[in-house]
């Protein structure tokens, strides 16, 4: 059973394999995303992040969730050698690069807490897989063609061990990711960077950071154990990390 709601300006999709699906589970997950949106949306005048940017809330007065995001941002900045930063070129905070993966991960934890084992939660193309799909196989995720308007698939991966998968790119929103180290870097060489990691929070933050690294991003992912990546340049040439191919065939079917 699959349900979609538009939250955080993007489709949030929850699919729970049959047998486990109940309406109140979907409602609980969507309510959580609405709560996150209300707190972290820079589009909302009354969100906490907007108030922080307007200096209406001091750092000491931040909510626990906000403080956690700020701490995780600081940590991520260090882990990515400064390529991840919630401070935008104009000096305000934009936590969206971290909040999406974090909230998907938390939403997954809500379902796990309810005893649900087979599902995925997706927000705007970033996915946390858990257990197996309807057919009892690992969740099969397509990497979107960055050159086409439709949701065309150019690569398929299977996620057998509850991985998260996230894609960063410049092809949909224009340049919504910038290189914090060189604000004039247009990041045109690489148009799409997909990262598979141990969970969506990790996959998402490293996808964002490695995309900001341009051509070097795939080598950064190559150096991270437990992560695989697939980058696509503007000429349509994909480069993958050495372990990526382990995800491209459905070897794990027999363990389902």
């Amino acid at each position: 059973m699959k349900q979609i709601q538009i939250i955080m300006g993007t489709p949030v999709i929850v699919e729970i394999s049959s047998g486990e699906a109940k309406q109140e589970l979907f409602d609980e997950v969507f309510d959580y995303f609405k709560y996150v949106d209300q707190k972290f949306s820079t589009y909302k005048e009354d969100s906490e992040i907007t108030k922080i940017n307007k200096k209406q809330i001091k750092e000491k007065e931040m909510s626990e969730d906000m403080r956690e995001i700020f701490e995780l941002s600081e940590e991520t900045k260090k882990l990515t050698n400064g390529y991840f930063d919630i401070v935008t070129p104009n000096g305000s905070y934009d936590t969206s690069g971290l909040v999406k993966g974090w909230s998907i991960w938390n939403a997954g934890k809500i379902l796990r807490k309810r005893g649900i084992k087979n599902f995925y939660v997706e927000a705007g193309g970033d996915i946390q897989a858990m257990g197996r799909n309807e057919k009892g196989e690992p969740w099969c995720i397509g990497i979107q063609n960055p050159f086409n308007k439709k949701r065309e698939v150019i690569k398929k991966v299977f996620l057998p061990k509850d991985e998260g998968i996230a894609t960063s790119g410049s092809y949909v929103r224009g340049a919504h990711i910038y290189n914090p180290k060189d604000k004039n870097d247009k990041l045109e060489e690489i148009v799409s960077m997909t990262v598979i990691g141990p969970n969506i929070f990790e996959a998402d933050r490293y996808a964002t950071a490695s995309f900001a690294m341009g051509k070097d991003g795939i080598f950064f992912i190559e150096g991270l154990e437990g992560f695989e990546g697939y980058s696509i340049d503007k000429k349509g040439i994909a480069t993958m990390t050495t372990g990526f191919q382990n995800y491209t065939n459905n070897n794990n079917k027999q363990y389902a």
Partner: protein
């Protein structure tokens, strides 16, 4: 007796504090008692380390475990009118069918979406039009990166559970979708 009880409980609290700080890291104030639920809720995260063979200063990934979800109780203060108004598309009662939104001028082209409603809910959102700022021609490039495999991308069948791609949280997307869903409203 009372004294002994008091001091032993103080010692216990101190030990609990030390353990807490060691397990969760020092960032969380120890006096926040409900922290214990953090571990019971958290999923088991696979451990991973950085590859030590690569160059450059090693980042040391820690297995971050975001705290469990909290109910949406906070931040209900002083509602003011959002500017620009975010077109919040709430799930309501929709009529089944397919609804095409208006084509909205985006940054470098038009965005137009179609919403598919089944059982009163949104079951799919499809792009009918979409800005294309990249050349479509795919040609083999001769540069090869050391060690890593490269390939020219090619279209596969769409027999997948879902698709990973860069998010489309553009204002144009919201606007086209809102207009599609307004037609679906009962």
């Amino acid at each position: 007796m009372k004294k002994a009880l008091l001091s032993s409980s103080l010692i216990f609290v101190f030990i609990a504090y030390v353990l807490h700080v060691r397990i969760l890291g020092a960032e969380a104030p120890a006096f926040l008692a409900p922290q214990s639920s953090k571990t019971s809720v958290a999923l088991s995260l696979p451990q991973y380390n950085t590859n030590t063979q690569t160059a450059s200063p090693k980042p040391k990934p820690t297995t971050a475990s975001p705290s469990p979800a909290r109910p949406p109780t906070q931040n209900n203060s002083a509602p003011s009118t959002p500017v620009p108004p975010p077109p919040v598309v709430d799930i309501g009662k929709y009529k089944n069918g397919s609804y095409t939104g208006t084509a909205v001028d985006a940054y470098y082209g038009n965005v137009q979406v179609k919403a598919v409603i089944a059982g009163g809910k949104i079951t799919d959102v499809q792009f009918l039009d979409y800005p294309q700022d990249r050349q479509n021609s795919v040609r083999i490039n001769s540069y090869a990166m050391p060690r890593l495999t490269s390939e020219a991308i090619s279209i596969q069948d769409s027999n997948v559970d879902t698709v990973s791609g860069a998010s489309f949280t553009s204002a144009a997307f919201r606007e086209s979708l809102s207009s599609a869903l307004s037609q679906a409203m009962i």
